[in-house]
């Protein structure tokens, strides 16, 4: 008798735990798509073209540094390059320290403001690398001389509104 009572109490706890877990998972499934735009760390050039940010808004732009697009201005400090996501491109201008991994064909994330001419004035520059790791010899034989990699798949975000 006592054992039966114990068993039914245990079953009740099992059902309650199951319901609680289902509720939590459900809440998560609802919340994550809603976070889509808020939780993105940067926008790709296509995002900026589809949904232009408010004038003067501070945003992050991410993508690959286009091959052959990097040049320095006469002051020797200002860097001008093109960020591409494969579909669209944005011209970026940046003065300051450059991360070691910055190079053509690699990923970057720049923080700054989009100008009226469509150029991006960056205040901060971060490098983004992909998930491939290999010795230099292997990279050389694959023709990836310290670059030419992707920065991982990128996502389209629906809106840039705050």
């Amino acid at each position: 008798m006592a054992a039966e009572v114990r068993r039914s109490a245990r079953n009740q706890r099992l059902v309650l735990a199951g319901l609680a877990l289902a509720a939590v998972v459900g809440a998560g499934l609802l919340a994550i798509p809603a976070l889509e735009d808020k939780a993105t760390f940067f926008y790709a050039p296509s995002d900026l073209a589809a949904n232009p940010p408010a004038p003067g808004a501070r945003i992050r732009l991410g993508g690959l540094v286009k091959d052959g697009s990097v040049s320095r201005e006469n002051d020797g400090l200002t860097l001008v390059f093109t960020v591409t996501d494969g579909a669209r491109e944005t011209r970026v201008r940046y003065t300051g320290l450059v991360p070691d991994l910055f190079r053509e064909g690699q990923g970057v994330v720049a923080t700054g403001r989009l100008g009226p001419d469509g150029g991006f004035a960056a205040e901060e520059l971060l490098a983004k690398h992909d998930e491939t790791y290999m010795p230099p010899e292997v990279a050389k034989s694959l023709g990836r001389a310290g670059g030419a990699g992707a920065a991982g798949a990128m996502h389209r975000t629906g809106s840039l509104s705050e």
């Binding site: 971060l126 983004k128 690398h129 290999m134």
Partner: protein
Amino acid sequence: MEPVRSASSWHDLANPHRFRRVAGQALPWLLAAALGFLAAGLGTGLFLAPADYLQGESVRIMYVHVPSAWLALGGYAGLAIAALAARIWRHPLADLAVRAVAPVGAAFAAVCLATGSLWGRPTWGTWWVWDGRLTSMLVLFLLYLGVIALIHAFEDRMRGAKAAGILAILGVVNLPVIKYSVEWWNTLHQPASIRLSGSSIHAEMLQPLLLSATGFALLFAAIVLMRMRALIAEQKRAMRQLRRAALAG
């Protein structure tokens, strides 16, 4: 009806004192294996494995960073399963496991965050950013701290165990968020290198990584067993003191 006493060793382990004895016998082997794998993995990883074509020598942080990330996540899954078992079956060892795992998991999460920060500076150019992966990993560390705090927050230990267990179970939602953060959202952190479809880490680097991860996993298990043994001994002593006080009174 009393259950028939089972002769299976699995059932015997449910008795905390027998568990303590068996764990004590297994511990030296577990520790020796952990140190062996760690020496092999970190030795080859830090000294013999090739540098990365892009990152150079700083890629060696991976041999500590990645195993500690895996174990912080795996440890949390174990913590939540133990908490669930403690809630549903009221198993005495399950509650002990929650208390034993929490600080160890928190330590591995802290190591993951610290080594990640040290790795981010020379590669990305920053110690920290609030992207999806880094933020959800910080949340995991805070969840561990929350569980530890709740365990000790109540005069009545049963209430503490209950509150900590509920937080541990709810926190499971964060595990898929960490795992898929790099796929759901644009992040500075790169996507996973090791997937079911294969690895994008070269074999000469993958091998030490897996050795090191095995070593850290065995170390994790050994520390948890040590803590469980200590907690059982502590309970035993507390019971003895109570009994002595009752007799004296």
